[in-house]
């Protein structure tokens, strides 16, 4: 078990990037891939892409993010990669439908974003589960599925 207790930098920091680049050439950078929601955790047990069992235990003041470097030493580095959140974009038919859709999503405690006239729902579970809940709104045309986009 590799215990990781602090964020030593971010892959976008110039000096860190330089060292990571050198290690990558030798295949010495390991990646931990996390869902965006899981980056809020301060403790988690995960495996890197190379199968190393990692125990992350951070101070509450620290926050995992895309590119967070948890280990950077001679011969090895561990970097966090955040999975992009998938969003379901919904276009309401009119004002009344928009109100109803907003109320409906709020009642289900879904994470949403607003973009112009679209309401975007974060997919924290299978897409089918969300579509099943929205079936009535989609079938009678109160809302239409615009697209599904990836976004951080």
């Amino acid at each position: 078990m590799l215990r990781l207790t602090r964020i030593v930098g971010n892959a976008t920091d110039a000096t860190v990037a330089e060292r990571l680049h050198a290690l990558e050439h030798d295949g010495l950078v390991e990646t931990i891939t996390l869902d965006a929601a899981d980056t809020a955790r301060k403790r988690l047990r995960v495996a890197t892409d190379k199968g190393t069992d990692c125990a992350i235990a951070l101070a509450r003041s620290e926050r995992l993010a895309n590119g967070a470097v948890l280990l950077l030493e001679e011969g090895r580095a561990v970097v966090v990669r955040m999975r992009e959140t998938m969003w379901l974009a919904l276009g309401p038919r009119d004002m009344a439908a928009a109100l109803e859709l907003g109320y409906f999503c709020g009642n289900l405690h879904w994470r949403v974003r607003f973009e112009g006239t679209l309401l975007k729902v974060a997919l924290d579970g299978p897409r089918e589960s969300y579509l099943a809940r929205l079936a009535q709104h989609l079938e009678d045309g109160r809302a239409r599925l615009v697209d599904e986009v990836e976004s951080g």
């Binding site: 602090r6 955790r41 301060k42 988690l44 101070a59 003041s61």
Partner: protein
């Protein structure tokens, strides 16, 4: 000399800010499913592992669960804090967990170093989930007397919890529940996330719960 003491204090404070914080584990589930009993069963197991614990309980308008644990003799009373949610229990563990974060921060500041803070939600419905801004890991406790069909009904609490516990296993034959089927259906809806069966009154299965927590968040304490 005074400067030295201050310097030591500052160093200790700085170390505390960068040292790993105590793991925060949420325990949710319907009213009467056995959340407090689970905590009572886990306390001796974690004590045996040498883990330093504190507890935040949530009740609607009372301190009932906090007082039960404070009287239990299983943990020093000052290590238990009660939060009165005053509203839907899930509001204070998900939408605005400020009250619980403050309670956990207070315990951590007063009792440092702590290994684990258990945060027990008030009894709620199957839609209840924890904000990961509040906890690092969360359990959802259901029981066989609530009905063998509960896992089939899914619900975010059942599906998304890091660990699902089916409690009161001994009651299954008395309430007409096929426990093996209930467990199998729970595993099916949880897509590989773990499911454990317990009887908190006898302690059956609690060692496995403690082992899971030790592995996943306490890192083998």
């Amino acid at each position: 000399m005074a400067e030295t003491v201050e310097a030591v204090a500052e160093t200790a404070e700085a170390q505390a800010e960068t040292a790993p914080s105590a793991a925060r584990v949420g325990i949710g589930g319907p009213v009467g499913s056995g959340k407090t009993a689970l905590i009572e069963g886990l306390l001796p197991l974690f004590a045996a592992r040498g883990a330093s614990l504190a507890i935040v309980t949530n009740d609607l308008v009372t301190q009932e669960d906090a007082e039960r644990l404070q009287r239990s003799g299983l943990i020093p009373p000052e290590r238990v804090v009660g939060v009165e949610a005053g509203a839907c229990p899930h509001t204070v563990i998900r939408e605005d967990p400020t009250l619980n974060i403050e309670a956990a921060d207070l315990l951590e500041a007063q009792l440092r170093p702590l290994d684990l803070i258990l945060i027990e939600s008030g009894g709620d419905n199957l839609a209840s989930t924890f904000s990961l801004d509040l906890v690092d890991y969360w359990l959802f406790v259901i029981d066989v007397s609530g009905g063998g069909d509960i896992p089939r009904k899914r619900g975010p609490g059942i599906v998304r919890a890091d660990l699902l516990i089916i409690n009161k296993s001994d009651l299954a034959p008395h309430v007409g529940v096929d426990l093996a089927l209930m467990r199998r259906e729970a595993e099916e809806v949880r897509a590989g996330r773990p499911v454990l069966v317990t009887n908190c009154r006898t302690g059956e299965g609690l060692d496995r719960v403690a082992a899971h927590l030790a592995h996943d968040v306490l890192m083998e304490v």
